[in-house]
Symmetry: C2
Subunit: 414 residues, 2 copies
């Protein structure tokens, strides 16, 4: 993409009421725009990053048998009354509204109820199970406070997969598979080293309900990390019983602050009982379907990546989610323009995503924008370099500039 | 995709309260699910069709310089009060809700106001113009009645592009370009022959505000079509003055019912005046930005295609939007399974999308599902055919079955 065709611009300042670092940086770099606390527009470069995060998650969900659909935001109350979650005291983040005829509606903060009801159209026999529908969906949560940028939204993107299984054993096997898929997602997003599968609830489902927590100084959660075993314990269940069940002791654990970036829950038959989602087994016996739910918030993960991978010059995207791999800086007139145009075309044809700064701006402005936007590699073309047969190549991290020949440059970027 | 991995099933009946043919067929084929009137979930096959419609529109918007972003559903009232459209009497399709702190919010039925405000961050000089941001977005409209399936939603997908230009001449040039892009969209979606650019408003902007109307017996609009000139006139402006301005007479026109599938509007400076979106021209003079808005509803278009391309056996998708190109029917045990598996792998590797009916169902059930789902080509593999070195090949339209060798089959599908 050519920078001249982007309608966004970078800015030296963020809105005065924006206190979170991720949103400040993303707004300054022109990736998002603030409508109100917890409600952000995705501008072209931000939308590319969000889509890349979504694509990584989608590939991993498809690889374990996920089947993508889209549910709706507007919700009728009957199905939520059946589960007991229509009441604002039980579910305290509802946005409610009304149809023109006066009927109350809600904006879905989550989708267990409507999906359980929907599956009644498709599940009647053991032959219909197991199935793993999932969706990427805008969710709405009427949070009292929302000061963490993309990390706690009132309108935000969520991936949720729901599993429908015949029995606990089939459920447990899938639970392990999706847990491993989550590990792959965080690894691919560059968060593998700082993300821990975290024991998060006591009670009967302790073994099969976990959060994935990523270490972050702005995290709202406190966790106790066992680095050797690569697991952690949430503060709420940090007690002798849980420690004993895991065979670990307090002195092996390090206290850290963290952000919840995903969760996997065994739901059992809570929703299938409430909404009568049953199937007939091989012996003709009617049984409730065993369910699980599995969430990851792509917008929260994007905010966390922006917050974590940043420095005093701006954003520092991991290559897998960067809006482009290369920021091409052109310095000079006719000769430089022809040369840079040609390099841009060649790289794009090779499948290397390039953000090409084709504006008539000072070199310093272009370099600063490349750094603020956090593009992994900066390549500079100028009249002087063209005459020497060279390109400046500057990684965003560990940022020493080296001079490369064209062949060396193409090698680096392939 | 293997049919055994889809969680949906076809059905002989649609919900009793569903009166529209497009929704009845899409529900029976397992493409959508009804939450309430005008609010539908997209199931896996329906989501593929919707995405294909969206992809066609996206390619054409990108080709004319569009720059994709996403705005939000939640809206604060100030910006809508500035334009005079917060009032439910002025904009009668609002869904309103409240933040936890009591502030009123609305769910965006359209996005002129928030985008005009957003662009104030990025437009200050003539050098920043023109720009063409666009989005695909869930819109919410609190329609009193919603009985047309996907064709009139309360929660539905909309593409809207907004143009920001320096002056009327620059605006007019873009208006012609996007009008041609719309023609390409409808042609690629298989609707070219029955879609007409339609004069839709009188007054000063008559020349630069049009609807695109597709002929349909279930249309809510009446239009007067001039087939020679490939244009039409909306009932509201079907008068002597408009006819004279177009140089046509009543006897050249045919009255038809039609569905509005897109619109292109010259907005002038209505919103830039209301929200103070100005720029400084080459001479240092401050001027309001000249705007236009351009909508297409992908979900409405999908409903229209389903309604129009259908017969007594079910849906009949045009190839460009079909959820798969081939429905592969397998009849028989080991030999047929091995043979069909291998053909499926080969076609998928060649980039041919196949819906592979690998279920243990009767042939008649598989044939009926292939027809109801409207997949363009059915290919049948059976023990008898394998021994003869042949495949049954059945187009969904003009549907005579022919027997093909493997080479002939691969030729047909490439």
């Amino acid at each position: 993409m050519r920078v001249s065709q982007l309608f966004t611009k970078t800015s030296k300042t963020a809105p005065g009421d924006e206190v979170s670092k991720n949103a400040q940086l993303l707004i300054r770099a022109g990736f998002i725009h603030k409508e109100m606390a917890g409600v952000y527009d995705y501008l072209p470069l931000g939308k590319i990053v969000l889509n890349k995060v979504i694509d990584v998650i989608r590939e991993e969900m498809d690889a374990i048998g996920g089947n993508e659909l889209s549910l709706t935001a507007l919700q009728q109350k009957d199905v939520w009354e059946a589960s007991g979650r229509w009441d604002d005291k039980v579910m305290d983040v509802w946005f409610k509204t009304k149809l023109a005829n006066g009927s109350e509606l809600g904006l879905a903060p989550t989708h267990e109820e409507p999906l359980t009801k929907l599956m009644k159209s498709f599940i009647s026999s053991y032959k219909d199970l197991p199935v793993y529908p999932y969706q990427f969906q805008i969710k709405f949560r009427n949070e009292l406070r929302s000061k963490s940028g993309l990390m706690r939204g009132r309108e935000f993107w969520m991936k949720d997969l729901y599993s429908f299984s015949r029995d606990q054993a089939e459920h447990d096997a899938f639970y392990e598979r999706i847990s491993e898929a989550y590990d792959r997602v965080y690894a691919r997003l560059g968060l593998g080293d700082i993300t821990f599968k975290t024991f998060a609830s006591g009670g009967s489902f302790a073994k099969y309900s976990h959060e994935f927590q990523t270490l972050s100084s702005v995290g709202e959660d406190k966790i106790y990390v066992h680095k050797g075993k690569n697991i952690a314990i949430n503060e709420e269940v940090y007690n002798d019983e849980v420690l004993a069940s895991l065979g670990i002791t307090k002195d092996e654990l390090v206290e850290e602050t963290a952000v919840e970036v995903g969760n996997i829950f065994t739901l059992g038959t809570k929703y299938s009982d409430a909404l009568n989602l049953n199937f007939t087994d091989e012996d003709g016996v009617s049984k409730p379907v065993v369910m699980g739910s599995y969430g990851i918030g792509p917008s929260r993960v994007m905010g966390l990546i922006a917050e974590h991978f940043s420095d005093d010059k701006g954003l520092v995207w991991p290559e897998n989610v960067a809006p482009a791999k290369v920021y091409l800086v052109r310095i000079g007139a006719e000769q430089a323009i022809a040369h840079a145009d040609e390099l841009y075309d060649e790289l794009m044809a090779k499948g290397v995503d390039v953000l090409y700064d084709d504006r008539d701006e000072r070199p310093g402005t272009k370099f600063a924008d490349a750094e603020l936007m956090g593009i992994p590699y900066r390549v500079t073309v100028s009249d002087r370099l063209i005459e020497a047969g060279q390109y400046e190549f500057t990684p965003r991290t560990g940022g020493d500039t080296t001079l490369l020949t064209r062949d060396e440059l193409l090698d680096k970027l392939n």
